[in-house]
Symmetry: D2
Subunit: 130 residues, 4 copies
């Protein structure tokens, strides 16, 4: 799992947008961001792509916590509540794990534990190259 964390910590897009992995377990992960002006859209709320990226980072950490390299085939997101400030936490859990396919659900919540968005993604799992 150290390798995964190293991989995920090299995620330049997440770093550039001040998102961080705060926890990785077997098939689980948590990521976090504190909302700044850079995360907002033209309406003054956190941009959908910022929420997606925070969830995707949790998915990437959780799905790469196993022995294989996992990449997303597809993902979907539901936007539940618009937010403009505060700290958001994305929590990923594994719904299914097969030889080459894994399915992960992610919830994003704010500090009041309100549900901000739900995310689901299917991972394709490859043997790591040496």
């Amino acid at each position: 799992m150290e390798n995964t964390l190293q991989l995920i910590q090299k995620d330049h897009f997440a770093n550039h947008n001040q998102m961080r992995v705060i926890e990785v377990g077997e098939g689980t992960a948590k990521t976090q961001m504190t909302v700044t002006g850079n995360h907002l859209n033209g309406l003054g709320t956190v941009q959908g792509g910022a929420l997606f990226t925070l969830a995707d980072l949790a998915f990437a950490a959780a799905s790469n916590s196993r022995e294989k390299i996992a990449v997303a085939l597809d993902a979907s997101i539901n936007f539940i509540k618009a937010v403009s400030s505060g700290t958001l936490t994305a929590t990923a859990r594994e719904i299914d794990l097969k030889r080459t396919i894994g399915i992960y659900c992610v919830e994003i919540r704010n500090e009041a534990d309100e549900l901000i968005a739900t995310f689901q993604s299917t991972a394709y799992r490859k043997e790591p190259k040496l």
Copy 2:
């Protein structure tokens, strides 16, 4: 449509990640980004969240080209081809437009016109506040 462009051009998250709207029509839009190191994940390819954001920006421009304010209810993305460099263009088109709901498809292609990702999103349309 000027208002939409103004709204979209104030998208701080898109600006912070060097994505730009290059075209807006009635229910259509194009966005573009030139891949830099800041867009990459730990595997050295463009992060899924960066692709999502580029598509989402095209969706936002297209869905806000109408007389109402449109926000995304949900969105899904399929990742077709990993890319590491070059200029990516997202093209949004309107599949359906009802009084309060609109559906939009976005394709992301590279300079060789290869399909990189497909995106679909459902917009909720609100009366603008004066």
Copy 3:
């Protein structure tokens, strides 16, 4: 809620395919089917459309348990485990409820409580016509 059950019990497609609502609460519902030859695809496993319909029926019952008429805007399903026999139960729960939009998750499980499929759908809620 009596009205909802009446509405759902008139679902001819569900009836024709021997699916039944076994429970409806506020924002929740359970549906059930016992697999017969009519539910199978050419590979001998339960057809994706049959699983979708069972989940959709649970969604319809749950989303119509409120005071408004709810129709699906979109839905997605993940197929986790192929099954060929036994009784399948779909359980729907409400993730979010706004004035005109509701979000519901459904899980389908077999008698061994194994996860067969997950389903998510967004409802559009209309005032009932008198």
Copy 4:
């Protein structure tokens, strides 16, 4: 392709619901149904599961038109227009084809060529067992 058609024509759930494959090409397929009372929900319109099944059958025919056995990993559907009668045609096309993964889009239209639903599904492709 004869094998595919044979496989798809043995789809008991589709047969039970009077849906038929009318065309199969390389990565493409068309399916059709004429709406009867058995396809309706409690509101008197074609049930979402019936539309899903018609689209899924087109997806199954298109994705199994290749040399491998294809099964759906996930699928999503957008419900555009409610219908109560007439003949519906689902047309599937291949968006992407990799060694183990294929992506397919399906459109359902009525006789007036109006868009009724859009469907997208990701196939997992397995070597056929001899």
